[in-house]
Subunit: 571 residues, 2 copies
Amino acid sequence: MAFTAKIAPSFLVSSHAFEQKSTTRACTQQKTKSFASNGSLLAFKQAMIPAVRASSARAAATVVAESLTFDTKIFEPETVTMAGEEEQILRGGRNLFPLLKDAWKGIKKVGVIGWGSQGPAQAKNVRDSLVDAGMDDVTVQIGLRMTSASCDEAREAGFTEESGTLGETFDVIADSDLVLLLIADAAQATLYPRILATMKPGATLGLSHGFLLGVMKNNGDDFRPDINVVLVAPKGMGPSVRRLYEQGKEVNGAGINASCGIHQDYTGNATEVALGWSVALGSPFTFLTTLEMEYRSDIYGERGILLGAVHGIVESLFRRYTRQGMSDEDAFKNTVESITGPISKIISSKGIDAVYEAIPADQKEEFMTAYCASYGPAKDILLECYEDVHSGNELKSVCMAVDRFDRFPMKKIDGTHMWKVGEEVRAKRVEDDIPLHPFTAGVYVATMIAQIDVLREKGHSFSEVCNESIIEAVDSLNPYMHARGVAFMVDNCSYTARLGSRKWAPRFDYNLDQQAYVAVDNGLKPDPEMESQFLQNPVHAAQATCASLRPTVDISVTAEGGDGVGGARDY
Amino acid sequence: MAFTAKIAPSFLVSSHAFEQKSTTRACTQQKTKSFASNGSLLAFKQAMIPAVRASSARAAATVVAESLTFDTKIFEPETVTMAGEEEQILRGGRNLFPLLKDAWKGIKKVGVIGWGSQGPAQAKNVRDSLVDAGMDDVTVQIGLRMTSASCDEAREAGFTEESGTLGETFDVIADSDLVLLLIADAAQATLYPRILATMKPGATLGLSHGFLLGVMKNNGDDFRPDINVVLVAPKGMGPSVRRLYEQGKEVNGAGINASCGIHQDYTGNATEVALGWSVALGSPFTFLTTLEMEYRSDIYGERGILLGAVHGIVESLFRRYTRQGMSDEDAFKNTVESITGPISKIISSKGIDAVYEAIPADQKEEFMTAYCASYGPAKDILLECYEDVHSGNELKSVCMAVDRFDRFPMKKIDGTHMWKVGEEVRAKRVEDDIPLHPFTAGVYVATMIAQIDVLREKGHSFSEVCNESIIEAVDSLNPYMHARGVAFMVDNCSYTARLGSRKWAPRFDYNLDQQAYVAVDNGLKPDPEMESQFLQNPVHAAQATCASLRPTVDISVTAEGGDGVGGARDY
């Protein structure tokens, strides 16, 4: 209660502030449809919110709904209620592909620039969607340095010079009506003046990350006024965007959610273009944000529970359990396997609080002890991380790190003993035998909730919070660690993410080890107030709403390759 | 060879650049005196430098000597040769106390602002030196918020309101001819406009850290022109500055070396004031730098081998050795004890390369394997750290962290299992039985050399390099970890240092663990070229020169208190 009341004011202020400064969108129609009674899980969760908290949360809700609405005449966004706050979202699905023709009116050439984590996935998804929509006159062309090793990969995927679907970066940019700029963040930071200058007037610059805005702000630069600038940011790494899109051919709507931001609307139809892009990628639902809020939550989130924090958690717990006498194999099962297996599955299908429910009565105290001990130390590092991202420090550090790559390239993170043990454990895995370890669950859930609470404090919408802290973790990333270990998860992501995970994982490790576990060893008991704040956290209801908006499809990541899975990228 | 040749150009550029931008000092007389044949250890080291390397190093030397000279008519600086480079330094000693009267002409009130790490030590040392010099008419007055808990500590040390030696911060500033600003860095960052405005025209602002300049640069601010701004930065934490000063009463010249920078000379005698201050503190030798080079090397150094790196090293090695089957007690002895005991003693008395000499022939390969495996991974993190400091990121992060103290104060770092083991090991310690572990020595020495090489690459003088990377480690800080563990070392330092150590220790830990130790386990063999670069590193000769400039006095830190030792500070 106290918690909700405390965050509401800053949320109000922040959402106003970023709305007024960062976007030029008009506020238009809302097509309201209530999902409050739509599915039994959601109904169950909504019923759990104490009436007084729900109403206090609702006080802040109208702001979001008013400040962030889709300016579209083609698509039909819906207003959904998340823990008492209303937000506009667009449900995706293959049934919307026929709308692409109108949404992308005037677009004949889509340039996909770069072939990293997002490039291959987005290029393939868009190409497939256009075929499905019967839009044979629209070309998807990959733009690369012709000396790049990625050219061969692109050719293997069917993008070739002969067919006019592979070309030199700046030639493709100059030619495209829609430029999907998916090169590495640090490359964007150095190349953006030339990229912007090369674009056609009236074309649309499509970003999948607000990073570039952060860099341009640091440099005091603006986008040229005669182009559209839009964001569609899938809340999952590229390979999962592709993998779930393919699964979506069987189960309509399966995919990775995306956030959408309209930063500059020169042609008057920028929202249509952006929503078309999101639909073509296969996003089950698309929610609104701004470029600034996107990069803050995204860069922070991947340093937190999505990559860095989960890595630090399992390293610190593996050490703890083996020191306590557990065998290496059991320690791996009770840390990594427990998180990527049962804990992720429960959160994905039933919510965070369902983990607590699933733990046997006689182990609930152990869960809650770990939770109470870990929440503060995790939040300490998370808040530091958020403020480093917000201040511009983290972006500057990424750019400096990339400049050092010629001397100090990124190296393997999974050569250590623990991850060798992991290989053996995975080889012998019986999925149903993976334990749900109460202490591990407590540490993991506490860190996830701490990440959520920091985002709420900083004014992020529930859609953004749930996607950046929960859905991306359990539905996109953890399955990759489950399949082949930590590097397969981390190093399938962007440079920014990979650098950030390397930087922040050890911070979580040390702080949990020095603070949380020491407190437990010194006899810490669960704090009833923290327990009740956890159980009553509004995010549980918000997450239930998010879950109701997409079909439950487990991403299928195999232990050995497969289209769209991608190999851990070159170091 | 290649190494020396490579660093020379950037060194030349940088030293010119910072000289031209940051100081207003005049370049004046040099009193040259050669120390090249002054002491057998030095002679031995100089003889070890291959002729060709020495001459190539000498090419860069004149720049330092020309660009950094003392503007003094009272003291007698000397020009010394460090690995072929000439530098001006001032030897200290109690025999110089009679010069204080001239050096501090016109100074009747010395305000010591703050009572943290440096405050008590400097206030007591200056007070004692003035008594010794017969300067009864000069008052040392402590400036504090009168509600501060430190007031009682100051009173216990004999600084009282009644005697006019304790007063309110801004009253003391307004009254003082020399203001020694020793409050926490972050407090300086917020209070400096009021502090500067309060000072008397013609007074001298004395800083013990260039941090404030970094903050003011970030803010686009300059110092008011009608005051002197000088730096005297003891290269050791406050308690060691006091402890060795007391020991200096028995052995003339014992103390902590200091760097000195004249940033603004309004009165024309700023150098005399600064050198008087350094002599009064008991600095065995004082070398010249600029405020900018000081804060870069200092903030970097404490994140590196001085605090953060050594912490990360021992944590990662303790884990490695226990996993390999060593008992907890033996692992502690072969990591922390080995470094704070024999390794530090050898480096302090005979130099870094003497560690290699001291290792038995049949263990030299193990040392060199650890060295070759660790040098790169350590340098990777060190270079990142230097650039984060240089770019202003690290200063901004410190200020943001301090702003979070009300929610997330710094916590204990030594509550973990390993440091509990350490307590038992220390209780049973037999000093002569502490092992010199070849692998531990290899990792530690590699990290120290990597830190040195980065500083040289970035244009720091040998005096600064040796003090920030070697002398401060083995003569000031490691003895504190030896006496009472890691927190007693780290948390006797400034907030900036304590935060930095917490932030960077885990980075060194992970990178060594993931890269260096994995490489060793995968069969890495010593690289003859790295071995020869290590043995021929010019820093060995430079360090020998530094060692010849001060008496060999081991700091006496007991396991239980003692004047000037200080307790680990409040969290």
